[in-house]
Every structure is written in C-alpha cells, then in structure tokens.
C-alpha cells in the first residue's frame, strides 16, 4: 500500500540530548530538500523500554508499525551493567509515499542505548524528546521491575502503559502489582488483546455460560488467567481454570464443552500494538479481569 521512499539517519556514540535534537532537525531539513515535500505528522510519541534480549523483537514490531503510526518512536535500551556511562543514539527519519498523496509522510525513530548510570533516570533523557502536547505511550518489554526508579519515572511521564503479561514468569502474582498502577496510568496488555476473538466467542455462549464452573484452556498462562479473571468478574461467580500450557491459544472449553474456534487469521505483533495505540482511555473490563485473576490457582489439565 505505502512504500518506503527514503530513510535518512545519523549515529552518534556518547552523545547528548541537545545534539540528538539538533541532528533530528538537520535530518528533517535535508530530506525536505529533495523535491517532494515531507510531512512530519504527529499523532503520538511512542516510547519502548527494551532490555537487550528484546531488541530484535522490538525492532521488528516497530518496522511493521511505522507506516501506520507516524509519530516519534523512542527506543530505550537500558544497559545498567555497562562498564562506562554514556548515551549512544541512532536516529532516523523514515519517509513513506502513499497512494494519492503527493507529499511523503515521515516518522522518526530514535534508538537510545543507556549505558551505566545513564540508565538510572531515563525520564530526564526522554522528556525533552517528546513531541509537545501529544499523548505518550510506552511499550514495556518484559516484566517491569515495579517500584524501581526507572519504571516509576516513566510511568509518571506517559499516558498509557502497554505490557504483554505473556512475557512475565511470575503469574498471577505480578498482576496484583500491575493492578496497583491502574489509578495512575491507563494500562493495556497485548495478552488481553490477543484473546479478543475468543472473548467474543465466549460472549456468544450467553446465557448458558452464566452458570459455568470451569474454564479449560490450552494456551499461554497469561491469556488463560486473564480469560478466567474476565469471566469471574463479568459473571460474578467463582470459576476454576484448568490449564494446559501452550505457546498460543489453541482451545477453550466451558464445563467440558469445546468452544468453537474463532474464524480469521491471527494478528501480528505489529497489528496488536497498533490497535493498542488507538486506545486512549482506561479499559475497566480489563482492569477488573486483572483484579479478579490475581488469586486464580490453575489446575493442570
């Protein structure tokens, strides 16, 4: 549909925020001189907290996202254990051509490596780089270290926190910690969005499902817990979870009766994140599901 027209970039080791800002301006001006007008459209600033083990996944997701959410993306790669302190940056302006549009539409990607002590106060690095007045989303890769300095600062800064609880090992315990944030930041969870079509299927079982006692899930632990929490909170009844762990949601049954598999293809990581970036308000149904699943004890199938 749209095609990448050009990328212009700059890389700097041991740099400063002021330098990054100036280089970004330079890049924008240099691409504008190439004849076709370039537009920087501003919808939101997208932050990503990306521990090194998630770097590849984050870059891939972002590549699939850039053309849908033209905005500034800032990737923060914390390396607190690094031997030296410093800030390394790679910045690029990516311009796409769109059918029926004479101008190119550009988005900016800033990748920052926070070495040593520079990983301690990330919000102070990011704040000057946010686009004024636009909403700020953060995709937190992996399990946040709830209560830690960097996490707390960034949560203060953003309008929305996007996690994937499927990346967390200590479930359901971690949900209680997540729930403690709900009054401070709108939270959303990729694991929750992934189960959307299954939730529609379950909703279709009303009113029979009102008296359900057991949910059986072959799928990821996070998705299973959230579905159980959702049913518990919506139906206002205890419901037990029988879990067979699988990398993806494969099967669901209510009191032993299989639920029809939803039709349609699975959404990619970029699709899922993209959908989250279109939500601007709190999701009370999700929040209640999280609260209700914090004490679910899955029995193995």
């Amino acid at each position: 549909m749209s095609a990448l027209a050009h990328i212009d970039d700059w890389t700097g080791g041991d740099t400063t925020v002021a330098e990054i800002d100036r280089r970004l301006g330079d890049l924008r001006r240099s691409v504008e001189q190439e004849g076709v007008p370039d537009l920087r459209t501003s919808v939101l600033t997208h932050l990503a907290w990306v521990p090194p083990e998630y770097e590849q996944a984050a870059t891939d997701t972002l590549a699939g996202l850039a053309e849908r959410h033209p905005s500034r993306a800032i990737l923060l790669v914390p390396e607190p254990e690094a031997e030296t302190d410093g800030l390394d940056a790679e910045i690029s302006v990516r311009c796409f051509s769109l059918p029926g549009l004479e101008a190119h539409v550009c988005s900016e990607v800033i990748e920052l490596r926070l070495r040593g002590k520079r990983a301690v106060a990330p919000a102070s690095i990011v704040s000057p780089l946010l686009i004024a007045d636009l909403p700020v989303f953060i995709r937190w890769r992996g399990r946040p270290d709830f209560g830690s300095g960097p996490f707390e600062q960034l949560v203060e800064l953003v309008d929305r926190l996007v996690v994937d609880s499927g990346e967390w090992a200590d479930l359901p315990a971690a949900y209680a910690q997540l729930a403690s944030l709900f009054d401070r930041v709108a939270a959303s969870d990729i694991a929750w969005s992934r189960s959307l079509e299954w939730r529609r299927q379950l909703a279709g079982l009303w009113p029979g499902i009102a008296s359900a006692r057991r949910l059986t899930v072959a799928g990821p632990r996070a998705d299973a817990l959230l579905l159980t929490g959702w049913l518990r909170s919506r139906l206002e009844r205890e419901l037990e979870l029988e879990l067979e762990e699988r990398p993806e949601l494969e099967r669901l049954a209510v009191d032993g009766a299989a639920v029809e598999t939803p039709a349609g293809s699975r959404r990619s990581a970029s699709d899922l994140l993209s959908a989250e970036l279109e939500q601007f308000t709190r999701d009370p149904v999700y929040e209640q599901a999280v609260l209700a699943c914090a004490d679910v004890q899955p029995i193995s199938a």
Binding site: L98, R200, E260, V285, Y286
Partner: protein
C-alpha cells in the same frame, strides 16, 4: 470435550449479557439478506461488490448473511460468483484474500428475472425464503435498487406487495432520485405506500466519504472554527466538484441529466448544507438531517444572472487531445445538455445573510478535484500591505474532499530575513499523513450503515424535495433561451461567464 457449542448472536439473551461490555468495538449488523437489483450492471461490478468484499475482509458483515443478485441477463449463480470475483480483483482496494472471498462467495446467489413482468419477483421471494432456511437470514432484507431510475417505481411496488411478515426490510435507492420535483414526489409517494421513512435509504455517496463527514468533525469538534463560522468573519465560500473525465460511456444517461441533475442537485447542495448547517443537538439521523434541510429551505432561488451553464468543446486534457461533448458517442450533435454549471447561492438566515456560496461543477476541467474553500475577511488594517509578496491574501480554510484528502489553512507568514515581507503559506493536515490507514470507500460505509439501520448519511424525503425544487426553478429559466454551446474548451476551467459571475463581485475562482 464432546459436544461443540455454537455461539448464538447477542440478542437472544433475555437478560443483558455482561460479557459484551467493552466487546462491542465493531458494529455488526443483524443477520440479513442483501438483494441487489441491477446485479449485472456497472455499479454492482465497480462499487458494490468491491465494497462488500472489503467489509467481508474486515469481518464487518453479519455472521449469517446472503447476497442475492437480480437482473434480466441469464446467468447461473456460479457464473455470477466468478464475474464478481473478477470485479473484486479488478476494482477492490484491498489485496485479494482467498479465504475472505470464499466466505462472502458462499452466500452469493443469482436470479434472472424481468421485474417489469407481473410476478417477476416471485422467484426472488422464493429464493429469499430458501436463504432464510439455509443461511439463517431470518426474514431480514436489504433491497439495493441499483437499476435505471425508470425501473424503481415498479420495483418498489413489487417488493412492497411481497413484504414478508417476519424480520425487517430496508430499501436503498440509488441516485438519481427522480428527475424533477414532480417525479421525486411521485416516487416518494409510491415508496411511502409500502415503507416508512426509517426504512428508506436514499444514496448520495458523497455523504459516505470520510472527508465529507470530517466537515462535521472539523466544525463541531473544535472550539476555534465555530465562533468565526458566519457572515461576520467569512467573506464567501467556494465549493467545486471538478472532473477531468468526459461523458465516457454514460452518454445516454448524461444527455438526460446534465451537470445540474448529476452533481448539483445532490452532491453540491449536500456540501452546501454541511458547510452552512447549524450544530445538530446530537449525531442521530434526524438531528443531522433536520439541520441540513433547514439550510436547503433557506437557499433562495438564484436569478438568471447568478447561474451559468456550459458545455465543453474539443481541447486538451493532460496533454491528450479530446473531442467536444457534441462529438462524443451517443450525444446529439446539437445537444443542449450542460456539462458545466456554476451558481451564486445565498443561504437566507441570520448566520449567512449576504455571504455568497459560489458553487461549480463540470466535466473536462483541468483536473479532478472536490474542495470546499472558506475564505475569511481580510485583516482590517495590515501595517505591512506594501511588503506583501503578491499582495496580502485573505485566510482560506480549504477542505479537500478528493484527492489529497485533508484540510489546509492558508496563512500569511513572515519571509525569513530582513524587513517584514509576508508570504502566504499552507498549514496542512492530510488524512493519509495522520492516520495512515487507507480511507474506506463511501459505499462500504453506506451499505453497512443501511444494514445497521442508521440513516444519518442518507438523504431524507424533505431534503430531496427541497433540492429538486431549487433545480426546477433554475431549469425553468434555462428553458427560456438557447445556450450558445460549446462555450469552453476541454481542459480549461469553464466558460468565461463563470469568471464574470464571481468577477462582478470583485472575486475570483480558486484555481481548480
């Protein structure tokens, strides 16, 4: 896990289903059958099926759904399906996805019949009854009348007489809706014998365009425009619907219609109504249409001097030599059909008194473009008049309906450097730029809305009748004299009398 439980649709539950909270992100219509009359025609192929496919791809169609194509041409269901598949591949805006197509195609059927025949629709009724069984469409019907206008009266009668006892019925009627006030009234009367207004969806596909709806968002979701949206601040409004194409293969239709019935009566007047209307109290169908119809009622009939008509002669469009209208195939060599019209309209109400709305539409203009330009009054006492490059220009808010969908504001800015030199620059908001999702086609939105029973984006009886009343008044003055056609060359911006129309007021058309 022995039995498989099948999901049943939402409205079966007696108590409200708590699981649906937060899940209704998508509006999907209830089970229904869509009957397309005119299924072998051009509209079905170029617009309706591509739109249906795009809806299917996004899973916006009802779970239980069927399409029944009806026309005279003999064809089997199989042949019809494969012709529509080709159409979707050729005209669709989305990539072709086998699975999505199969899902849609499974519910497609075709019946060949002449609906002018007595009992011609019995086969249609029987097929629909059968589909209620096999596809679970529950007696719910959407009839899409994509036929030549002369077939509509008889179709309405035939469908009306065969209305079933169960389920709901909706009728989508294509434009043109009549050819003057009398025929539109007759048609409305015929329709109201069998259907109530809530069941009737008169298409003006312009209203299905995102950018047209954005006019309402722009005006009523922003605090800064409405205070200046009136005669005190706005000098005048220009609305242009320009096409670069000629009459093409639609000559026989166009000879009867002309620019005034093809574009002015519906699209242009709707754009005027959306630009000039008062804020509706909410976004329900009747609130919005109540406000639009008030504008249409306040339009006073322009005198002969305030209307210009034109017809193109030979010329060049995009460097290619093209014939004049009278030389086109199917056009009478002495045709007096107008391919261009412009008018100065006044909305006689408190907000707009004395503020002209200049509207124009034409074929074979230099480029295809639909815009609404709101020109504001000049700054009252600019201290740097003489420093302005090319003169200080007034601010213009430009709403681009197509192409380059978006909004731009022209403002004067200081040229960098010494002194105080001013130049006009554009501040642009481009749809594609901000949202990066391709805009849905108007027909997708409209078909879906009709299935959902939402008539906000369709024209109501009283709107259509007001629009025709104005057209009739203009056409009546045209009958009195013979135009000297052709009066503009293809590829130019219209007859010189159109320039005089605005020139007399000390204004000029914007470049199309």
């Amino acid at each position: 896990m022995a039995t498989t439980t099948r999901a049943t649709p939402e409205h079966d539950g007696k108590e409200a289903n708590p699981l649906l909270e937060g899940l209704r992100l998508r509006r999907t219509p209830e089970p229904c059958a869509l009957v397309i009359f005119g299924a072998s025609g051009d509209l079905t192929k170029r617009k309706l099926f591509p739109a249906l496919y795009s809806l299917a791809l996004r899973r916006l169609l009802p779970e239980s759904f069927a399409i029944l194509g009806v026309a005279r041409s003999e064809s089997t269901t199989e042949e019809f399906r494969s012709r529509m598949e080709e159409a979707v591949r050729e005209f669709g805006r989305d990539r072709f996805d086998e699975e999505a197509w199969e899902r849609l195609a499974g519910g497609i059927n075709y019946v060949a019949t002449d609906f002018a025949d007595e009992g011609g629709l019995d086969a249609v009724r029987d097929c629909l009854t059968e589909l209620d069984e096999s596809r679970g469409t529950r007696g719910n019907r959407v009839y899409y009348l994509a036929t030549p206008p002369n077939a509509i009266g008889i179709l309405v009668q035939q469908i009306g007489e065969r209305r079933g006892a169960s389920g709901w019925t909706r009728l989508i009627v294509e434009k043109p809706f009549g050819r003057d006030l009398t025929s539109a009234r007759e048609l409305n009367a015929k329709i109201s014998e069998f259907f109530v207004e809530d069941e009737v969806f008169r298409i003006d596909h312009y209203l299905g365009k995102e950018t047209v709806q954005n006019m309402l968002a722009l005006r009523f979701a922003n605090g800064i425009f409405e205070p200046v949206w009136n005669r005190q601040f706005i000098n005048h409004v220009q609305i242009s619907v320009a096409e670069s194409i000629g009459v093409g293969s639609r000559a026989s239709f166009y000879e009867e219609t002309g620019a005034i019935r093809d574009i002015f009566q519906n699209h242009l007047l709707q754009l005027v109504a959306l630009t000039a209307m008062e804020p509706p109290i909410d976004f329900t169908a009747d609130s919005v249409r109540n406000e639009k119809v008030k504008v249409l009622r306040s339009l006073h009939t322009p005198g002969p001097k305030s209307v210009v008509r034109g017809q193109y002669g030979p010329g060049f469009v995009e460097g290619i030599e093209v014939p004049g209208y009278r030389d086109e195939e199917g056009v009478a060599p002495d045709s007096e059909t107008e391919t261009y019209m412009a008018a100065k309209l006044y909305v006689d109400n408190w907000r707009w008194a004395d503020t002209p709305f200049y509207v124009r539409t034409g074929k074979r203009l230099p480029r295809r473009e639909t815009t609404i330009a709101i020109e504001f009054n000049r700054a009252p006492h600019p201290p740097f008049e003489e420093m302005a490059r090319g003169g200080l220009r007034p601010n213009v808010l430009l709403v681009h309906i197509q192409p380059d969908e978006g909004v731009s504001l022209e403002i004067g800015a200081k040229v960098p450097g010494q002194g105080m030199s001013i130049q006009t620059v554009h501040m642009d908001f481009l749809y594609g730029g901000a949202f990066r999702t391709a805009l849905p086609e108007a027909y997708e939105r409209l078909i879906l809305d009709a299935m959902l029973g939402d008539a906000t984006l369709f024209t109501r009886t009283d709107e259509v009748e007001e629009q025709w009343a104005l057209v009739d008044a203009i056409v009546a003055t045209w009958r009195r004299d013979r135009p000297s056609f052709p009066n503009y060359a293809a590829g130019t911006s219209g007859p010189s009398s159109a320039d005089d129309l605005v020139g007399r007021d000390g204004r000029a058309w914007r470049r199309p």
